[in-house]
């Protein structure tokens, strides 16, 4: 069958239009994705003997019509020879409106790690992330370690901050990263930040192979618009 140019052109245009609509629809969820997530916990211990975590709060799914919050608390946590603390809390909340925003807070009191190798009277991890689709930012303002002592060396007196990602060797044990900050996102639509106030990596003294880890005072937030 032969078709004239007059009859072919509308059909071709129609097909192209549908193709464009299909491509647009396929891309739309990516371009308009709005989401927030958050997580906070008091302490996490992983060793050959197992894994323990306390005061864990994970932000449930948030829609554009509703916000959400999660929280948890514990009176204390004890892993003999590894960690003891008094009260621990984790709180995370988020919502989506003109901007997407999530914020998380973890608190831990009277921390003692590895039989006094690291002590602190309290830890406060605070992170927040916001995105309005044109600018996305995160920060850890308000994150502090009070009366922190590492391997006998006082690092803060009262409530104080430590430079992000401060690494110290713990002879015979491994190393610790203080105020560990892990960021993500493109800074335009998406932004995220995780703060681990004390992150101890346990290593085999001979091989250096990681045998476990301890994280105390962790808060994460992510926002995308």
């Amino acid at each position: 069958m032969r078709m004239s140019l007059f009859t072919i052109r509308p059909a071709w245009l129609g097909g192209t239009l549908w193709l464009l609509i299909g491509v647009t629809a396929a891309l739309a969820p990516v371009a308009q994705a709005q989401s927030v997530s958050g997580r906070a916990y008091g302490a996490f211990v992983q060793s050959p003997l197992g894994t323990q975590q306390s005061a864990v709060a994970v932000l449930p799914a948030v829609t554009a019509d509703d916000g959400a919050m999660a929280d948890d608390a514990a009176d204390a946590m004890s892993v003999p020879g590894t960690l003891t603390t008094e009260a621990l809390t984790g709180t995370t909340s988020g919502g989506i409106g003109d901007a997407a925003a999530a914020q998380s807070v973890a608190t831990v009191f009277n921390v003692n790690l590895l039989n006094g190798l690291i002590t602190a009277s309290s830890l406060t991890a605070t992170v927040s992330s916001t995105s309005d689709g044109a600018q996305a930012t995160s920060n850890a303002l308000g994150s502090t370690l009070a009366d922190l002592v590492v391997n006998g060396v006082p690092l803060t007196s009262g409530d104080g901050s430590i430079a992000p990602n401060t690494r110290m060797t713990l002879p015979g044990v491994g190393y610790v990263v203080l105020n560990e900050q892990l960021s993500s996102g493109d800074g335009v639509r998406t932004s995220g930040l995780t703060v681990n106030l004390i992150h101890v990596v346990l290593q085999n003294a001979l091989t250096g192979i990681q045998t476990g880890e301890i994280i105390v005072g962790s808060a994460s937030s992510n926002a995308a618009m």
Binding site: D66, G67, A68, M69, D71, A73, D75, A76, E86, A87, T89, T91, T92, S93, G94, G95, I96, G97, D98, A99, A101, Q103, S104, V105, T107, F109, S122, T124, T126, S128, T130, D132, T137, N139, A140, L141, G142, S143, D159
Partner: protein, 193 residues
């Protein structure tokens, strides 16, 4: 300044205590409010029905961390609406933990501060409800009410280290933290479109 509280949802002695406490504490630095607040309806939700927030304040009374989510969309749109959400606050000096058991009153209004980004006044939420409270590892006290105020005055909420967002909370047992600039975290008002 003494503000009027609808007593229908606050029975007996708690109502009296809350009323007295409302009279004693200093007024929040915010814009004009209706004479009858804590009453459902759109006239008392002028800054929107939904807020979330979390972070830290450092008033002279002591470091405090918090998180909350409040959705009063039903409350703001009808005379019998309910309020969804929850709140947790930790007052560090005494390791006092406040956890909401519900939210039964809400209002929102323009803040006394201007949001630098929008050029418009910030937005404040004021909400209240029953709570359980404990100090350290002591027992929970379930006979307490909380009243919190949170203001979204711009983004980020705690940059460059203090404010512009604000948070404050009072308990019916007499303890109170004034509306204070955030030193970490964020308050977010979520307008309904």
């Amino acid at each position: 300044m003494c503000r009027q509280i609808t007593r229908s949802f606050v029975p007996g002695l708690v109502a009296a205590a809350l009323f007295a406490w409302g009279c004693d504490r200093p007024a929040a630095p915010a814009g004009p409010k209706p004479s009858l607040w804590f009453t459902p309806g759109p006239e008392n939700c002028q800054a929107g029905p939904k807020f979330t927030g979390g972070g830290r304040i450092d008033p002279t009374e002591g470091k405090t961390t918090f998180g909350f989510n409040v959705n009063a969309q039903d409350w703001c749109s009808s005379a019998r609406g309910t309020i969804k959400g929850q709140l947790q606050t930790v007052y560090h000096p005494t390791q006092t933990l406040v956890h909401s058991l519900g939210i039964d009153a809400f209002e929102s209004y323009a803040s006394g501060r201007i949001n630098r980004k929008t050029g418009r006044p910030g937005q404040c939420a004021h909400f209240a409800g029953p709570a359980r409270v404990k100090d350290g590892n002591g027992p929970w006290n379930y006979n307490v009410r909380f009243e919190a105020t949170a203001c979204d005055n711009g983004e980020p909420g705690s940059s460059p280290g203090r404010g512009p967002d604000q948070y404050g909370i009072s308990l019916s047992d007499g303890r109170s933290l004034p509306l204070t600039d955030l030193t970490g975290g964020n308050i977010q008002a979520h307008p309904t479109h």
